[in-house]
């Protein structure tokens, strides 16, 4: 454990620029405080007295411990669903990546990316439901801010998917970009649907009619815009027919359309020149709204600038801008369009703006840097970086121009995995992240797993199973030793023996076996007989354990009145000399009843052996017992020597 005292030096605070300062709330912290790290991102602050010996009990009464930990967004119940569900997709992605090493797997990656997005969508839905049902104002605000966070995450992910994961035919990104705009800014589409449903002539009476028409043009929904224009009361006029004709005749590029990009560019430019000439002929002067539409479709910057204020962000007009200025734009050519759209209004740059700009400029390093600032505890940065890494689209250089892509990915995953391992329930999720980043992830996992609180055997068995799954044999053994020690200190010898055998630990097995033997010498009852009589090869873990097992077997034989076998076993235990010192008395005295049995069960040789051991270890027995044993030995020797001398049924 690591302890340190806070210094009260103000100059240090200035130099390091503390991000946040907390005032310790209680007066017991006024003098000196200490701090100790706990498991994960946790530490405890405690009052620390410099004069340990002099403090008396009266000051101790108001001492307090202050547990401090980071409040983690992902640990709220709704977001735990996100954590768990995305973990499944993440693990599938790792498998797909493994498979992609031998064959191209881009389709699978796209599928998984969509799965991630649908998980985020579900999460947003859950948050929305919770927010509508929440009565508490503060809680509601929290939920709404989570919604904003995950909404922008989904928005960025979708754009990333278009730019890097999806396979775009011919790299012509426009249709995908329009889809993205439509998907994330659906308000005009909804109004358009309402207007078209009503299908009333003279819809221009509705106040949002023109906004909707413009919105549809800007989103590239030319057909919808035309249908809306048909609802105008003056739709039969020449001006309307002219605009409708221009919109209808707009060339649309398709990779499979059978014409080359060059050919398309010529026809498209031709069409736009035609539109421009119509505009300059001033035939539309009486209809300023139609004029605006024409100016937009010729890609007039000032026209876009004039409508920019109607939209909350520049993303809405991005699709339209690309469509009417450079519909042949490829994925990596969007930077200019983004700059143009973003520059149309002097709005303050939001975080989302920065991320979208960086993404369109193709600066993934910047994108990842930005998304790390999102307060989702690294969920987004980790998963997005990982999928981009596996798609082979990520290549990040440090200032020395060395490729640090895989290090970046690993560091994000390690960070995220460690964060989850702090949680009581999500530790197994965290472990699967750490395990996907060998070798460092597994080393970290080892350190954290060894420190996990283990309340029940069920949990211990689960930790061991998980550890073994990832080959962390050391963790499995240390958990077993820990359980063994716990049972031992509680005097539960069966449990201790069992966990020692599980962990295959010779030292632990010896300790437990010694405890069992000492228990027998003190209480004359062998513990855990059911275990000892059925244990298999695990008995070979330690000499003491083997001795204990054999000794237990001796008891069994004796109880079942198989005296000869019992005697043989006892002699072999005595002569093998593996018995611990404190157990010799018991062992030697155990021969007494067998020596006195009606039928002789020890041979003369056996008797000599026992005599030898008795004399060598006479100090372990007190005089009276030793004399008694000597007498019995002498009598047995007399019996057996005579019988063996006769050569009649000498005991073998």
């Amino acid at each position: 454990m690591n302890t340190s005292t806070f210094s009260a030096d103000p100059s240090r605070g200035k130099a390091a620029e503390p991000a946040k300062t907390f005032i310790l709330p209680d007066k017991c912290f006024k003098k000196n405080v200490g701090c100790a790290w706990g498991r994960g991102n946790k530490f405890t602050i405690y009052p620390r007295s410099q004069t340990v010996n002099k403090t008396t009990t009266n000051t101790k009464t108001d001492d307090k411990l202050l547990n401090t930990r980071q409040d983690i967004l992902l640990f709220t119940p709704i977001l735990r669903k996100l954590v768990n569900e995305s973990n499944g997709t993440y693990l599938s992605l790792q498998k797909a990546a493994e498979a992609a090493k031998v064959s191209d797997n881009q389709v699978e990656f796209l599928k998984l990316s969509r799965q991630f997005r649908s998980i985020i969508r579900v999460c947003i839905e859950n948050l929305q439901d919770a927010a509508t049902n929440e009565g508490n104002g503060i809680e509601k605000n929290n939920l709404l801010s989570y919604i904003t966070i995950f909404y922008s995450i989904e928005c960025i992910w979708h754009l990333c998917e278009i730019m890097y994961i999806d396979s775009v035919p011919g790299d012509i990104v426009l249709p995908y970009l329009l889809e993205w705009v439509r998907f994330h800014f659906p308000c005009h589409e909804q109004t358009a649907a309402r207007l078209l449903d009503a299908c009333e002539r003279g819809s221009e009476e509705q106040e949002d009619y023109w906004d909707t028409v413009l919105g549809m043009v800007v989103q590239g929904r030319v057909d919808v815009a035309r249908a809306l224009l048909k609802l105008h009361s003056a739709t039969e006029s020449n001006e309307f027919k002219l605009v409708d004709n221009s919109l209808r005749s707009m060339p649309v590029y398709s990779v499979y359309g059978g014409i080359s990009t060059g050919e398309f560019t010529i026809s498209w430019k031709h069409w736009q020149a035609e539109c421009r000439s119509k505009l300059s002929s001033r035939v539309l002067a009486s209809q300023p709204k139609l004029e605006l539409i024409m100016r937009i479709i010729i890609g007039d910057y000032s026209a876009f600038e004039s409508i920019r204020s109607k939209y909350s962000s520049w993303f809405d007009i991005l699709g339209g801008w690309v469509m009417f200025t450079a519909p042949w734009a490829r994925r990596h050519e969007l930077g200019g369009a983004a700059a143009a759209c973003a520059g149309m209004a002097p709005a303050p740059r939001s975080h989302l703006d920065d991320m979208v700009r960086a993404l369109l400029e193709g600066d993934l390093h910047q994108v990842i840097h930005e998304i790390q600032q999102i307060s989702d505890n690294g969920w987004f940065a980790t998963h997005l970086t990982d999928i981009l890494f596996h798609c082979g689209k990520l290549s990040i250089m440090d200032k020395h121009q060395t490729n640090v892509t895989s290090r970046l990915r690993d560091s994000l995953i390690l960070e995220y995995g460690c964060l989850l391992m702090e949680h009581k329930s999500l530790w197994s999720v965290g472990l699967s992240y750490l395990a996907s980043c060998p070798p460092e992830g597994l080393r970290r996992a080892e350190l954290i797993l060894e420190r996990m609180p283990v309340e029940t055997e069920a949990k211990a068995m689960r930790i061991i199973a998980e550890a073994k799954k990832y080959g962390l044999v050391g963790v499995a053994q240390s958990v077993c030793s820990c359980m063994c020690a716990r049972h031992l200190s509680g005097g539960r010898l069966g449990g201790a023996l069992c966990w020692a055998m599980r962990g295959r630990s010779g030292a632990a097995a010896s300790r437990a076996a010694h405890a069992a033997l000492r228990h027998y010498t003190a209480h004359a009852a062998l513990p855990a007989q059911d275990l000892l009589l059925t244990a298999g090869s695990a008995m070979l873990l330690s000499d003491t354990l083997l001795f204990l097992g054999k000794y237990c077997d001796f008891h069994r034989l004796y109880k079942t009145r198989e005296f000869k076998k019992a005697a043989q076993l006892l002699v072999s235990l005595i002569t093998s000399k593996i018995a611990p010192e404190y157990f010799w008395e018991t062992l030697l005295l155990d021969t007494l009843p067998l020596l006195e049995s009606d039928e002789p069960v020890f041979t003369s040789n056996d008797t000599y052996e026992i005599m030898l051991c008795l004399e060598l270890r006479s100090s372990t027995l007190d005089g009276e017992k030793a004399d008694l044993l000597r007498l019995a030995l002498a009598r047995n020797l007399a019996r057996t020597a005579l019988a063996e001398g006769d050569g009649v049924d000498a005991p073998q």
Partner: protein, 346 residues
Amino acid sequence: MPLEVQGTFVSQKISKIRWIAEDYVETKCFFTGSWDDDVNSVKVWTFESPHEEDEVEYPRQLSEYPVDGDVTEIKFTEKNKIAVSLSNGDVKVLEVSVYEKASPLREVFHWKKLHNYGEEPCSCTSLDTLEGDIATIGEDGNVNILSGRRGEVMHSIKGADSCSLHSICFIKHNEVITGNIRGHMKIWDLRSTNNKPAASFLLAGDELAATCIIHHPTQPHIILAGSESGSLAVWDLRMNQFPTSLVNAHAMGVSEMQFHPENPHKLLTCSISGELWDWNMEAMTKSSKGQDNQVTWMPLEDKKAMMVNSLIPTLHKPINSLHCDKGRILCGADNEAVYLIKNFKY
């Protein structure tokens, strides 16, 4: 109709899941017990469609009953009463209202620290029920027989095992079988008072825990046990102490088994490795008749091909519990989700 799998995330690791039986109508409600969370609970859920026209049904939480420690087992003592064992050593009998499932669970009986190491807490690892009687086991190695009707401890076997017990099953009214952490199985005659097992044998030579025990629904002398190693052992208690079959099945420990309540040839098992399997046991019983025309279970070497199907794609996390009612199987897993499998053919 094809098998349909539908998962719902519930923000708690599920240790036990149980359908609540209904008369005459399809079961809709179920219990879950959670484990390994800061605060665990027993919850009642119902399946319902959020929109009238929707075919898909999602579980919605009806009530929550927080408990201390982990929920280690849930079994019914009566139609609407469950016995719940907890890792703090307590056992509770809870009642759900027949008419209003959403009303909070009512505590009928509560045995505090039924299993203990003196002052120290000790987990009550499992229980089994038979006609209102409850048999509980714990890490302390004791067996307790409780009356779920009168709320008293009728019998207890102290020191039934020197290690912790992990699985128990009623064979008859007066006989239970227990399995410990080393796979040591013991049969106890509850009428005897000498604290000695009537029989004992080992599950396998690997000294791994017996994680669950069940008996065959129509032939109660056939006992099945799942091991921590993922293998499945079958005993015919009339024959001998050695398993008639020991099948290497799942990749990791078997967490729960259930014979289909309406078709005793169907066995369902789930495992720590995240698998949910459906076994066709017909081949094991049918093809061999003993001398006196008694059905015997096939010995190991005769068994050619066991019919085993995987019901869901292998999860990345352990499946802890399953419960089957007609063609609908529920399972609860460590990825904090419950799964409903519909249109299961039995």
